[in-house]
């Protein structure tokens, strides 16, 4: 007697389970979105304040702090430094990362695997420790921290992004295409330029975008390797907040959010960023 009833009962219970699970996931997602967006929204709203303090909600709205950015020489210099560092970091990371991933994808040697792990390690190792270590390293070499060293250190932590996206693109690349190119008489360089690069280009571009962003808002490495002259934007903003609660930092943050959004939309359009990262 109990046998025919059992499936119905169980089905009933599963329905409840599924419903509550779905509710739970929806709640968690909403919470996650809230936590991700809320800080940015608060900063942007605050940046439009008319008052002289970082108060939320703002008592009145104005653009005075954005206007004030025009006179913020130090902040502008820091932003220019950050852009320069991010540009060179991206250029070098893309070049080295692409070259490394080509070798890694092509070889099955255990040494190459080891190199892969080594190149990826900055992603998991504490960047603070790496920043400190590189500062000691630079001094031991007899130098003082400067822009080239800052760029080099950024390259170390940004290469993994290029490596991952390019390797992912390379695994999608049909090796028969490379064989076809070779058998048609193409040199390795021609094969790379005409076949490999166009087909993995989006992966490389996605990695370049990530590397750029990672360099642009890197704090732990810059903290050690940036000095007065090479001060970068995130560090400068941090110091402004710490010393005098400068409202201009909110305006600068607003601009950074806008800048990032524009870059992301561009990356999505031209490189299909989210598809490359999947």
């Amino acid at each position: 007697m109990s046998t025919p009833d059992a499936p119905r009962l169980r089905r009933h219970r599963i329905d409840w389970e599924a419903a509550s699970l779905e509710l739970l996931f929806k709640a968690l997602t909403a919470l996650a979105v809230l936590f991700l967006l809320a800080p940015s929204v608060i900063v942007i709203l605050t940046s439009f304040t008319s008052s002289a303090s970082l108060k939320f909600p703002p008592p009145g709205l104005s653009l005075r702090w954005y206007v004030a950015l025009f006179d913020a020489d130090q902040m502008q210099r820091a932003a220019w430094n950050s852009l320069q560092v991010a540009f060179w970091t991206t250029l070098i990371s893309v070049t080295l990362g692409t070259a490394a991933s080509l070798a890694i994808a092509r070889s099955s040697s255990p040494w190459i695997r080891a190199a892969d792990v080594l190149f990826m390690s900055p992603l998991v190792l504490p960047a603070l420790a790496f920043g400190f270590a590189s500062l000691i390293f630079v001094y031991r070499l007899g130098f003082r921290p400067n822009l080239p060293f800052l760029v080099l250190a950024h390259v170390v932590v940004c290469v993994p992004f290029v490596l991952r996206t390019t390797l992912a693109a390379l695994t999608q690349l049909d090796p028969a295409l490379l064989d076809a190119s070779t058998s048609l008489g193409a040199s390795p360089w021609m094969t790379f330029r005409r076949v490999t690069l166009p087909l993995i280009g989006r992966g490389v571009a996605a990695g370049g975008f990530l590397a750029f962003m990672a360099s642009f808002d890197n704090v732990p490495v810059s903290l050690f390797l940036a000095d007065e002259r090479t001060e970068v934007l995130p560090i400068h903003l941090w110091q402004q907040i710490e010393t005098n609660l400068d409202v201009r930092t909110a305006a600068a943050s607003g601009l950074i959010v806008l800048f990032t959004l524009v870059l992301m939309i561009a990356a999505e359009r031209f490189a299909g960023l989210t598809r490359q990262l999947r």
Partner: protein
């Protein structure tokens, strides 16, 4: 050759048949290739004369693809020599060998148009710009694909992609053409059309061709000669009919066409025949082939077409009971269970006037001729 001439099929054909006179000769000498502990190709000798189409036929993992990659120059063999026209090519990199390959998935460059795909090899060979466009048009004309020059490969059907792959490959006038399972991805009707088309182009071009395939029908229908490969070795090289009718080994016999296999023991040998007792108990008479002594354990095979069903009154042949009858249009396929429970396939032409033998009927299986049986060492 006038590169500026209006592209026409006749021009392309004329040029290709001029190439026919220099069909290149391919020779493999004692090619051996090891991967770690495994041996993929084991002492292969093969000579393909100019303009000939030879099929490398074998199951997957038999080493045929490795052999193809060695000829193309993608991998270097562990031992042995590859010669084109008697000249060693082992030192030549893959992009300098002049070997054209049509890949199983065609390997067309997805980010280029059809015309760009065909032009690619010409650019790689540093053809002057003004000669490339006419040559591309010529090649597309040859494979009846002019109308598709500006399409992307993804917009083409499988058969069309294959035509482009072939045009791209022939454009650079390769010495040797390698076809790597080229028809595997096509549906059955199209496959036959493309086989005819490829064979036509190969004939016109007179280009020495190696067709790598695991499909026996493909090999039988297309090749001038077939080299059957198994476990890294070539078991037999012969014309398709010889491969089918006089298989040199049990493997060839079983791999090419279907066959019934029996184990047995030689019980009598004379100058004209050999008598074998099959493990089921039946005694059969065959022609003496290789040297076997009385008492030797052997394998006897016979193709389903070489058996007929006789009423179970005579004592000749193998007794059995019909288990399955499949009338397949012009033929009827019978599955007959013989002594010892072994199922034997028999295919006979269907006689419209005679009703097929029915299921459950006792019959005797009789060979059409003594030479229908083939005997191999067990």
């Amino acid at each position: 050759m006038d590169g500026n001439a209006a592209p026409s099929r006749t021009a392309a054909l004329r040029q290709l048949s001029q190439a026919a006179h220099r069909g290149h000769d391919l020779r493999l000498e004692q090619i051996t290739h090891r991967f770690g502990d495994g041996i993929a190709v084991n002492g292969v000798d093969l000579h393909v004369t100019g303009g000939e189409l030879v099929a490398l036929l074998g199951p997957s993992g038999c080493g045929k693809s490795t052999l193809l990659r060695i000829i193309a120059g993608f991998i270097s063999q562990t031992a042995g020599r590859v010669l084109f026209d008697g000249a060693l090519v082992d030192h030549l990199k893959a992009n300098r060998r002049g070997v054209g390959i049509v890949f199983q998935n065609y390997a067309l460059f997805p980010h280029m148009t059809v015309a760009e795909n065909v032009a690619y090899g010409l650019q790689a060979h540093h053809w002057p710009k003004e000669r490339i466009a006419p040559r591309v048009a010529e090649m597309l004309d040859l494979v009846h694909m002019n109308a598709f020059a500006e399409r992307r490969p993804s917009q083409l059907s499988g058969g069309q992609q294959q035509r482009i792959a072939l045009a791209r490959c022939l454009a650079i006038d390769p010495k040797i053409l390698l076809l790597d399972e080229p028809f595997g991805a096509l549906d059955k009707n199209l496959r036959l059309d493309m086989q005819i088309e490829v064979k036509r182009l190969q004939r016109i071009a007179g280009i020495t061709t190696l067709l790598v395939t695991h499909d026996q029908e493909e090999a039988l229908s297309m090749a001038d000669r077939i080299a059957v490969m198994n476990k890294g070795r070539i078991e037999q090289v012969a014309a398709p009919t010889a491969i089918y009718d006089q298989p040199a080994s049990l493997f060839v016999n079983q791999f090419v066409g279907t066959t019934n296999v029996f184990a047995g023991e030689v019980i009598e040998i004379s100058a004209h025949y050999v008598r074998v007792r099959l493990d089921g108990g039946a005694v059969i008479t065959a022609l003496p082939g290789s040297a076997f002594s009385v008492g030797a354990r052997i394998i006897v095979t016979i193709r389903p077409h070489h058996l007929r069903l006789a009423p179970s009154t005579g004592s000749d042949g193998m007794p059995g009971v019909v288990k399955t009858v499949l009338p397949l249009g012009p033929e009827v396929v019978y599955d007959v269970e013989t002594a010892g429970g072994r199922g034997v396939k028999v295919v006979v032409a269907r006689d419209a006037d005679l009703a097929p033998v029915e299921i459950g009927q006792s019959v005797h299986l009789v060979p059409l001729a003594l030479h229908s049986f083939r005997i191999f060492a067990a």
